[in-house]
Amino acid sequence: MNLRSPGAKPTVSEEETVAQPEENAAVAGASLVEAPADTVAGEVVLRLTDVVKTFPGVRALDGVQLEVRAGEVHCLLGQNGAGKSTLIKVLAGVHQPDSGLIEWRGEPTTFANPQAAMRAGIATIYQELDLVEDLSVGENAFLGHEPRRLGFVRRGQMVRRTRQILGRLGHGDIHPKRMVRALPAAGKQIVSMARALSHEARLIIMDEPSAVLAHDEVGNLFRIIRELTAQGIAVIYISHRLEEIREIGDRVTVLKDGRTTAANLPARDTPTRDLVSRMTGRSIEYVFPERPAAGPAGAELLQVEGLTRAGEFADVSLDVRAGEIVGIAGLVGSGRSELLETIYGARRADAGTVRMAGRALRAGVGAAVRAGMGMAPEERKSQALLLGEPIYRNVTLSTFSRYARFGFTNVAAEQAEANRIADDLELRPRDVRRPVRTLSGGNQQKVVVGRWLLGDTKLLLLDEPTRGVDIGARAELYQVIRGLAAQGVGVLLVSSEVPEVLGLADRVLVMREGRVVREAPAGELDENTVLDLVMAGSLMEGAPA
């Protein structure tokens, strides 16, 4: 399989490009492709060699190579969990790498904290902008390093310099004394960039900057990025949208499972097929339980018609039958979590109906639970668990009233039931009186799922059930989910990991920007097709220049 694209011929200035270790290339299954030198002429400002960062139980970065030149837009591509966020945090000084080399402008460096990275000239614009809403534009731009004399902020100078920077960004129209709260999302992003420039940044990292922007605002963002790079500033650009990478990027580095699988691909003419395969070629095999041979279709359980919430999702119709696992694939921000919470009654729908077994549901979570729904929400710790409380109380959180008599709780019965669930799910450690806080992510998730095994749950809504769960516990959770379906429970599963949806679900819905764009039996879809649908369909239309 030759992944070397015809447009990317190896060029003469090899000494400028990053040296790739042999074994990494071997793991990637193909040689790494280098960029033609004529597209990027600047000096190398940042070079990462074999950077490794481990967290307890996870190797978040497992040998990352990266080379960024002055004046280029370097795109980072990778699926969720590929290590992009960790890499950004290492560059921004939030995390320190365990091993490997970071060279910043030719000098080996480590950034002890975010301030050090900032001083060195690396600015990061996070997806959720870190601005103080109730301070002015100027105060935000110079937050923490205000021009001052004798301890007094020199407001006039701050306003003048902010105006100058905003002018450089082509946004002289934003007044430095305006409150940030009053600005639209695009304006806030400009303020974040102004802050980066106030630090004389030489490298600006942008984490999915287009995610918060409307379509026409993206063009303006690109114009600003071009002006920045024309001034010799390097930009690391992260986006899931391939067509954006084609338009603004110079070179692309692809990450998968914490490793660089391809470095310095030309952004404009590397075939999409190559990019996608570099992102997806798996080194970890997921183990999914076998689907039952197509038995008789279960009874109609959940029917959703024309469900809409303004700005989140529109006109979604779907149904789940008893014993069926329906998976929803989509990126963060595609509206899938919001859809799930709306079906569950935790959010109010603007339009549309939700029916359980033919009966329309009243608003509110209580009605949904009484109708037999259960949900394992996306944010386990903040949405599902009482971390300081014992395991058994978390397991019985939605059912403890059933064991109570005259309002008095029956702790013995609760513990017995929790013990049964703990045995079924192979919870470790087994003692149900321990606080949930002491459990690993996978076992915490078992507690959340186990909650709905009590009582008479007919439909289970699972939002990212394996996020932060290690490989072994994943396989167990898959077994649990399949086992539930085998007993006739309907499952509606949301995941941003495409293989998980394809491997576990019987039927798959693909969501993009709040709409269902495809529905098919899982067997009829493969990972590349789904990824492509999820990423704005750029594969179908070919690679735009």
């Binding site: 639970v369 009484r370 939605s398 013995a412 513990q415 013990n419 009186r433």
Partner: protein, 374 residues
Amino acid sequence: MSDATPTPTATPERPQLPAQSPPVDPAETAVASEAATTSNRLSWWRGDSGEGARRNLGLIGVLVVLVIIGAVSRWDLYSNPDWVWDNTLTILKLASVVGVVTVGMTFVIIGGGIDLSVGAIVALSAVWATTVATQSYGAGGMIFTALVVGLSVGVVNGILISYGRLVPFIATLAMLVAARGLAAEISNKQTQLSNNTFINNIASEKVLGIPLLVYILAAVVAAGWVLLNRTTFGRRTVAVGGNPEAARLAGINVRRHTLLLYALSGLCCGIAAIMLTAQANSAQAATANLYELDAIAAAIIGGTLLSGGRGTIIGSLLGVIIFSTITNLFAINGLSSEAQNMVKGGIIVAAVLVQQVQFRSITQFLGRNRLTSS
């Protein structure tokens, strides 16, 4: 690109899960539940957590230290056992009214809220119960009025907070001002004497040598303990305060429960109003001044987490008793109440600092910091 497609691999070795709620062998359940009961039996003073037990032991230690200080400073008094018994009853009597208010406050704080209006509710209930019109209905009418007024104001608080979505601090601050205003309006800023001997006797009556007020406090504390530790209401309180989003997504009606918590606090204020009226033989709009601060402070030094989700009734009771012991300590030594307040302030800070250190060591022990600081 065959490696890019998912490979659903079967693992048939693993047994299928048993059905949800399968028929459980009754004998097995009985054994399991028996084991669970014996291992989970609670001592009366600790509530449902080991952390609470340790904290309450610490509070008892503080009480012992205060008694030793009293004995050392006024050995002439402490050497007389009869005086010590009487003084203990004095301390408990002093603690009784605020103690009842603190039980309600503890529920509100564990449930993630705060009630700044308790002092004002006590005053309003007491004033309403002692109007000439109410007194004409006798003791029963007065008690009924105090309880209903307290409960109603609590319900209004609850509605404003849970359905009006006001911040508890703001809603109850507004109620503090408004209820005192209404109390002043009803009483025409006069002190209203209670002419009902049954009510007045509540404060002076003793049963088996112990004042009736202390029995009332004990009854409210006992009821509060059972409610918090043994009922679904208590379980919901902890869930709603500990993680409101998780409680909501588990199907608990968070709003209704929040309303009930403020209603409970109001009801406690109604009980306290009767006790206070009995003690003073009168009521006025300015009565029960700053009770909200005493109750909050007692709950906090008793180990109730201001952010909700954690707290014990016994801890709050100990907090109230510690405060009244300090007051008593200053009184028997003839010291000013100003100095007393300074000491109380210091104790609040010290208690919270000690708890933070304890909590940190516990979380470290559980290995939580290893995960977050890596």
